[in-house]
C-alpha cells in the first residue's frame, strides 16, 4: 500500500524518475492497453494516459492508483455487477453490465479522471474503461511489458529504480 494525502493506494502502475528512464512519449502504453483489452486503438478506450509536455517534451504517465477506499466502485449504481472487486482487491469493470453512466469517472479523485469513457451515439456502446492491472494476464500489465524504455513498473515491491537503494 502506498499513501498520499491521507489516501492509501493498492498496487498500481508507476512511472520512473527520468534519471532511471525518460518517457519517450511514444504512447505505446496507451496503445497496447487498448489492443490487449479491446482489439483496437482509441483514446477513448485506454486505461493509462500520456500527458504530453508539449513545450518541455517531458511526458507524464497518468494511471489509476487503485485507491483503497475505491470511490469509483462506491459510486457505481450497479455495484458488484458493473464494477467489481476481485480476490486481490483490484477494482475492475465488467463491461457486459456497465451502463456507461460515467459516475465512476466523475468519482475518481484524480484530475483528469483515470477512468476513460467510450463516447458513442449508441448508448449500449458507452462503457467505462478502468485499469484492471491486466488481472487475467499471467505476464502482468501490458503497458509495463511493452514500454520500449521500461519507464513503467508495478508498485508493491522494490521498484526497478529503487534497486540501487535497496542495500543502503
Amino acid at each position: 500500500m502506498e499513501k498520499e494525502e491521507g489516501r492509501t493506494f493498492g498496487r498500481h502502475i508507476a512511472q520512473s524518475p527520468m534519471e532511471y528512464s525518460l518517457c519517450a512519449g511514444c504512447t505505446t502504453c496507451e496503445i497496447v492497453c487498448t489492443l490487449t483489452h479491446d482489439g483496437l486503438v482509441s483514446p477513448s478506450y485506454n486505461r493509462i494516459f500520456v500527458d504530453r509536455g508539449t513545450r518541455s517534451m517531458i511526458h507524464t504517465i497518468l494511471s489509476c492508483q487503485h485507491c483503497s477506499d475505491h470511490p469509483c466502485y462506491n459510486a457505481c449504481p450497479k455495484k458488484d455487477e458493473a464494477m467489481r472487486i476481485d480476490e486481490n482487491g483490484i477494482v475492475y469493470v465488467d463491461e457486459e453490465n456497465c451502463i456507461g453512466c460515467g459516475l465512476c469517472a466523475k468519482a475518481c479523485v484524480f484530475e483528469p479522471s483515470r477512468i476513460n469513457m467510450v463516447k458513442s451515439p449508441d448508448r449500449k456502446k458507452r462503457k467505462a474503461k478502468k485499469c484492471d492491472m491486466c488481472r487475467n494476464d499471467p505476464e502482468g500489465p501490458a503497458c509495463v511489458r511493452w514500454c520500449p524504455v521500461k519507464c513503467l513498473a508495478v508498485t508493491g515491491g522494490t521498484l526497478p529504480w529503487e534497486e540501487d537503494k535497496k542495500d543502503e
Binding site: G25, T27, T28, R52, M57
Partner: protein
C-alpha cells in the same frame, strides 16, 4: 465508419476561400493507391492544373496518413504532405514527411487525410473534432511563435488536442518555412509552412475519440518486437560532459542533459535527442529542444562529420538502422565478418572552418528555427555557411546588413534569422526567398559560384575548391551527398544519391538515403558509371522511399535490406492484405510513375532539365578530389532510363511502362499533350 484498408473512411476537402467542406471516401483511392504519398500523387494528378504557383490559392496541400497510422505498428504515425513547393527552385510538386501524433488523432476524429485549397480572407485555423470541421478565426494566434501557438491551442481546446502549426516564418511567406507538430516533428522539406501562410492558415488542430482497428494484432505485436530490434531497456537522462564530434567537440561547463524521445505515435524507438535545460533565444527561461542529425552542425562546424562505408554499404552480419544513431544504441561491429574492417573504416570529413564550436550559440540558432518555424537544414547548412564563406572571401564588403556579419556572434545569428523571418531591411526580403533565389537575385557568378579557399581534405592532405553557396539541386542544399564537406562518401555512393536527386524535386536524403549490400558495391565500385547493378540498387532505394511514405513508415527504420518484406508485413497486419515486398515494389513504381507524370505534365520535366540541374554539384571535387565527367554521368543516366523503360532523349516513360503499371489513363492524357516519347 469504414475500417477498410486500415482506414476510418474519408478524406476531407477544405476550401478556405469558400468555406466549403466536402468529403471523399478513402476507398476511392485506397484500393488502388494504398495510402500516404501514393494517394497524394493520385489526388494531385487528378486535380492540379499546370501553371499553378506555390502561393496561388489553387495550390492544394494534400495531407495523408497511411494504413498503419494509429494501429500501433511502429513508425505508422508518420504521415505526408504534398503540394507545390515554394522552396523548390523552380517551384515544383514536392512531398514532405512528418511525424507526431496528429495523424493518429485525425483518424480518431474520423478522417484519413485532408486537402486544403483556397485562401482564407482572414487568419484562420482549422479545428477538427469527431467528424466535424470548423474554420475558426486565428486572430489570437497570428504572430505567435510555434510553441506559444501550440500552447494557446491547448488552452482553447484542451490538453489532448493535437496541432500542427506555423510560426512567423510561414506567416511571412519565408520560402523555407516548416510546419511543426508534437515533439518538434516538422514537415520541413518543401516550405509548406509558407503555403499555410499564403492561405492565411495558422494551424490545424484535431481532437478525436474514435477507434482504429488493426486486423492482425498478433502480428502487430511481433512487429513491435522485431522492427529495428528495439532496445526495450531503460533510457536514462544522462549528463554529457561534451558535445559534438569529429573536430567539433566542445566541453560544456557543468555538462548538458541528454534524453531520448520518440517522434511519432506508437513508435518503438526513441531516436530524437532531447537536449534539456538549454539556452533560449527568447527569454532567460531554459528550454528543452530536439536535436536530429543536422543539429550537430549548429553547435560547431569546423569539420564535417566522418563517414564509414557501413552507413551506405552493409552485410548481413553488419547492418544497422539510422534510428540507432542519435540514441547511441548502434550494435557493436561483428568482426567475424571478413568485410568488417573495410565497412567500419573511418573516412574523415573535410575541414571547412565555417564556425568554431559554441554550445550556447548553437542552442539559440536551434531555438530560433524551432520557434520561427524554419527548416534547420537551410539555415545551418546553407544560409550560415554562405555567410561564413562569403565573409572570409571578402564578398560581403559592399553589402550593408545593418550589423557586422559574424556567424560566430550569437547576436548576429539572432539578427539575421530575425531579418529573414520578418523580411526586414534591404536584404531580409531577398533572403526570405531562400538561398537559391537570393543568390540569383544578388548575382550567381559572384555570390554563388565564387570559390571558398578554406576547405581542406584530410584524406588527400590538400586544399580543395568549394563554391560559397552549397546548392545541390532543385533549390535544396547539399545533404550528405558525398562531397567531403557534406558526407565523405565513396564515388559509387554519391553517384547513386545524384541519380535519386535527379528524378526528384527536393533533398532526397531523409527518405531515399542509399543502402546496398557490400557485395554489390564490390561489383560496381571500379566503374560505377556503367553498372546496371548500381542502377538496380538506386531504383530499389527509390521504390523503398515511395513504399515507406505510402504504407506509412519511417525513413529511419526502412529500408532494412535484409528484411525486404518488412513494409508489406506492416501493411498486412494493419489492413489484412496479403501482399509481399515484390507486390509493394510494383505498387511503389505506380507511385513513382504518377510523380513522374506530374512533373512532366505540370512542370515540364525533361532529361535535359534534370541532368543539368544535378550535374554541377558533382563537378565539385569530393574529399578524394574526384569529380564526375559529363560524358560518363550521361552514360549512367542512359542505363538508368533504360532500366526504368524511359526514353533516353526526353526522360519520359513510354506508354508501355504506364500501362504495365495500370496507368493507361495517365498515358492517354500525356499523349494528348504530346508528352509521350515518339
Amino acid at each position: 465508419m469504414s475500417n477498410t484498408y486500415g482506414y476510418v473512411g474519408k478524406i476531407a476537402r477544405i476550401n478556405l476561400t469558400t468555406g466549403e467542406i466536402t468529403t471523399i471516401p478513402t476507398e476511392k483511392y485506397a484500393a488502388d493507391y494504398i495510402g500516404g504519398r501514393e494517394i497524394c500523387n493520385r489526388i494531385f494528378w487528378e486535380n492540379a492544373k499546370p501553371g499553378t504557383g506555390a502561393f496561388d490559392p489553387e495550390n492544394m496541400l494534400i495531407y495523408m496518413t497511411g494504413p498503419t497510422t494509429a494501429t500501433g505498428i511502429p513508425t505508422g504515425g508518420r504521415s505526408v504532405f504534398t503540394g507545390i513547393s515554394p522552396a523548390s527552385y523552380p517551384e515544383q510538386y514536392v512531398w514532405s514527411g512528418i511525424g507526431g501524433w496528429l495523424g493518429a488523432e485525425l483518424k480518431f476524429a474520423g478522417f484519413d487525410g485532408f486537402i486544403i485549397e483556397g485562401r482564407a480572407e482572414k487568419p484562420t485555423y482549422i479545428y477538427i473534432e469527431d467528424g466535424d470541421i470548423q474554420l475558426l478565426p486565428a486572430d489570437g494566434l497570428w504572430g505567435l511563435l510555434v510553441h506559444p501557438t501550440q500552447k494557446k491551442l491547448e488552452e482553447i481546446h484542451g490538453r489532448k488536442v493535437k496541432s500542427m502549426v506555423i510560426g512567423p516564418a510561414g506567416e511571412n511567406l519565408m520560402r523555407n518555412a516548416s510546419i511543426t507538430t508534437s515533439n518538434d516533428s516538422v514537415a520541413a522539406k518543401g516550405g509548406f509552412g509558407a503555403v499555410f501562410g499564403s492561405k492565411n492558415l495558422k494551424a490545424v488542430s484535431v481532437l478525436g475519440t474514435g477507434a482504429v482497428y488493426p486486423v492482425d494484432i498478433k502480428k502487430l505485436f511481433e512487429l513491435r518486437l522485431k522492427m529495428a530490434n528495439p532496445a526495450m531497456r531503460p533510457s536514462p537522462v544522462k549528463l554529457e560532459p561534451t558535445h559534438g564530434m569529429d573536430g567539433n567537440e566542445i566541453p560544456v561547463e557543468g555538462g548538458w542533459l541528454r534524453g531520448q524521445v520518440a517522434c511519432s505515435h506508437g513508435c518503438n524507438q526513441h531516436c530524437n535527442r532531447l537536449m534539456m535545460n538549454m539556452k533560449s533565444a527568447f527569454s532567460d527561461e531554459r528550454i528543452n529542444q530536439v536535436e536530429k542529425c543536422v543539429g550537430i552542425f549548429a553547435y560547431g562546424y569546423k569539420e564535417d562529420c566522418s563517414w564509414s562505408p557501413i552507413q551506405n554499404f552493409e552485410t548481413s552480419k553488419n547492418h544497422f538502422l539510422p534510428c540507432k544513431m542519435l540514441s547511441m544504441e548502434s550494435p557493436e561491429p561483428d568482426f567475424s565478418d571478413p568485410y568488417a574492417p573495410e565497412l567500419f573504416k573511418q573516412v574523415r570529413g573535410d575541414i571547412v572552418d565555417f564556425w568554431k564550436p559554441d554550445f550556447d550559440k548553437g542552442s539559440v540558432m536551434m531555438d530560433m528555427c524551432n520557434e520561427y518555424g524554419i527548416d534547420k537544414w537551410d539555415v545551418i547548412v546553407w544560409f550560415m555557411t554562405w555567410l561564413s564563406m562569403c565573409k572570409k572571401e571578402g564578398l560581403l564588403e559592399d553589402m550593408d546588413f545593418g550589423m557586422e556579419v559574424d556567424v560566430e556572434n550569437e547576436e548576429f545569428v539572432k539578427y539575421f534569422l530575425d531579418m529573414i523571418t520578418y523580411r526586414r531591411g534591404k536584404y531580409g526580403p531577398i533572403f526570405a526567398e531562400g538561398m537559391a533565389r537570393a543568390v540569383r537575385t544578388l548575382g550567381k557568378e559572384k555570390y554563388g559560384d565564387s570559390i571558398y579557399h578554406g576547405r581542406y581534405s584530410q584524406m588527400i592532405g590538400q586544399r580543395l575548391d568549394l563554391p560559397v553557396s552549397l546548392e545541390a539541386a532543385w533549390g535544396h542544399s547539399f545533404h550528405w551527398q558525398g562531397r567531403g564537406f557534406e558526407g565523405s562518401i565513396y564515388k559509387a555512393g554519391w553517384l547513386a544519391h545524384t541519380l535519386e536527386l535527379m528524378t526528384s524535386t527536393r533533398d532526397i536524403m531523409t527518405v531515399a538515403h542509399f543502402h546496398d549490400d557490400y557485395s554489390n558495391y564490390l561489383e560496381y565500385k571500379d566503374d560505377p558509371y556503367h553498372s546496371k547493378k548500381l542502377v538496380e540498387s538506386v531504383i530499389f532505394n527509390i521504390l523503398k522511399a515511395e513504399t515507406k511514405d505510402t504504407v506509412t513508415c519511417c525513413e529511419w527504420q526502412s529500408p532494412d535490406i535484409y528484411w525486404k518484406d518488412m513494409e508489406a508485413e506492416m501493411l498486412n497486419a494493419a489492413a489484412g492484405t496479403d501482399l509481399t515486398g515484390d507486390d509493394l515494389e510494383h505498387q511503389a513504381m505506380r507511385s513513382f510513375l504518377m510523380f513522374r507524370a506530374i512533373l512532366i505534365r505540370n512542370f515540364g520535366r525533361t532529361r535535359k532539365m534534370e541532368v543539368e540541374a544535378v550535374f554541377p554539384a558533382i563537378t565539385i571535387p569530393d574529399t578524394f578530389g574526384e569529380v564526375a565527367t559529363w560524358e560518363e554521368f550521361n552514360d549512367l543516366v542512359d542505363i538508368y532510363y533504360d532500366a526504368l523503360g524511359w526514353d533516353r532523349e526526353t526522360g519520359w516513360p513510354t506508354r508501355e511502362v504506364y500501362e504495365k503499371y495500370g496507368l493507361s489513363d495517365i498515358a492517354d492524357e500525356l499523349e494528348a499533350l504530346g508528352k509521350l516519347p515518339n
